[in-house]
Amino acid sequence: MNLELFGRLTLGLTLGLVQFVVMGLAAWRYVRHMRERVDPIVLRLRAQQREREQQQARVPSGRRFGAW
């Protein structure tokens, strides 16, 4: 931890700074991942659920299953 890398900047201090950078990168990756991979699926599922609810609302509850 006390190894001096550049002048007075020790390994411990550098690791502390690297932590901030890593957090920033992680947040950026997370936001990108959610926007590209997860959000489209969520939007589709939401639309599906809305459709199902509307269909259920359209058919009167007495005749919901089958026409026999």
Partner: protein, 536 residues
Amino acid sequence: MVIHSAAIADEFSLRLTFVLFVSVVVVTLFTALLTAPQRDEISEFYLGNRDMTPLRNGLAMCGAYLSAATLLGSTGRVALNGYDGLMYLGGTVVAWMMVLLVIAEPLRNSGKYTLGDTLALRLPHGQRQVRLALSLCTLAVCLLYLVAQLVGSIALLTQFIGDPSGATRTMCVVVIGSMVVVYAAIGGMPGATFLQVVKAVMLVAGVAVTAVMVLHHFSWNIDDLLSSAADNSALGGRFLEPGLQYGGTTTNKLDFFSLQLAIVLGLAALPHVMMRLLAPRTTRVARGSVVWAMGLVGFVCLMAGVLGLGATAIVGRESIAEVDPRGDATVLLLSHKLGGAVLEALLSSLAFITLLAVAAGLTLAAAASLAHDLYGEVIRKGKAKQTEELGVARLAAVVIGVMGMMLALLSWGSSTATLAFLAFAIAASAILPTIVYSLFWRGFTARGALLSLYGGLLCSVLLVVFSPIISSQPSSVYPDADFAWFPLQNPGIVSIPAGFLLGWLGSLAGGRTEPTTPDDTFEEFEVRALVGTDQR
């Protein structure tokens, strides 16, 4: 417990601080009155404007989170303890990462007004007892944190007029406390939001300007800053090495770990931060605002590190410790040296406004929990009208404010940072297990929730009572008594695992006897938490 610090500000700086503080308070108070909820709707009072942009909500989140303990306490720790102080600042960003990755989105999707609503959706059986337990825990955390802010206002006043007399102390707490009550009770969430946004902008700007001045003083040479800090600390190289505050014994090291655990895990369970998470209407805005808040908080923490090091380099460690052994005066001393009375007045009025904004958010969160969970759902069993609940919420804000003021006057000598970190530890051990289990564990039952809420609260409070904070040390509340068998200052390392364990055991034990939650309740909850079916 005596505060040894003497007055460090001159007459001009004191007047300027007063003028600045009063003008910001007047502007924000009028805005709070103008934007106050007009239509007696609880959603407006609890959540405010739900169509805010990610930047504005993130600013408000940052304003709700960064307290005077960060601005004054952390910089002081950096200035006095060097490397060990800097390590405090790193934990904060990790805490926001936790919120972003784990809690924020499912909580927003499944929540309504308070955390109690999420739990009621997840655990429909016995939701009344769970709400009761949850509002007790929320009240405990909020009150403790509120007391920390009010105690901080006394400590700040001490920097100006020296040791305050009893009457001055009471006046300071009563004035600040009543402002907080007005913001929370009349302004509701819109008022608190405006105050928090203003404060966050001022804080980021003020800290940035001062840090730029420090860096300019060393002609933008970080190495120069570090070596002058090490030289002026009278400790040489040891200042930049671990172990100044938390070195030596294992107890010390464990204490540091315990504190970091509370900082990292506590944030996700702080009621006033959680309220901000529930405010946005869409998941995307909630995510964006957490990212903004994280960036802003990270920036302020980095700059606080620069300020602390700069204070040691420019003012000198010994003269800082001479004025205030806890280091709370560091920023003010530094600004006096760098920018004279004007900068000092700017930063000290900033500190007062910081106190005010955090305290207003806390009072509001506690009032919402009391009115919505305790009154609306437990006492009136969901039959209360909106106007009625709103009246109770305003009344609760007043009651909480008064309780906070009285407790602050009783414990005025304790350290702001200690009280604040205790609130974090209690939040992490009592409230966090319930949130995590209810969002992610199918087998969680109401009994587990009750056990982890009450157990975590009790465990952390008892450990604090038997810790060196209360007895056995010159700096504790009862220095003459000695019943401190728990050696650590911070209970987190024991009480957080205890809270999780109790929740797990309670759910397992009750699983066979009580009617198990039907599977579709969890499935419905999970769909809602992941998809967010309430949004278009």
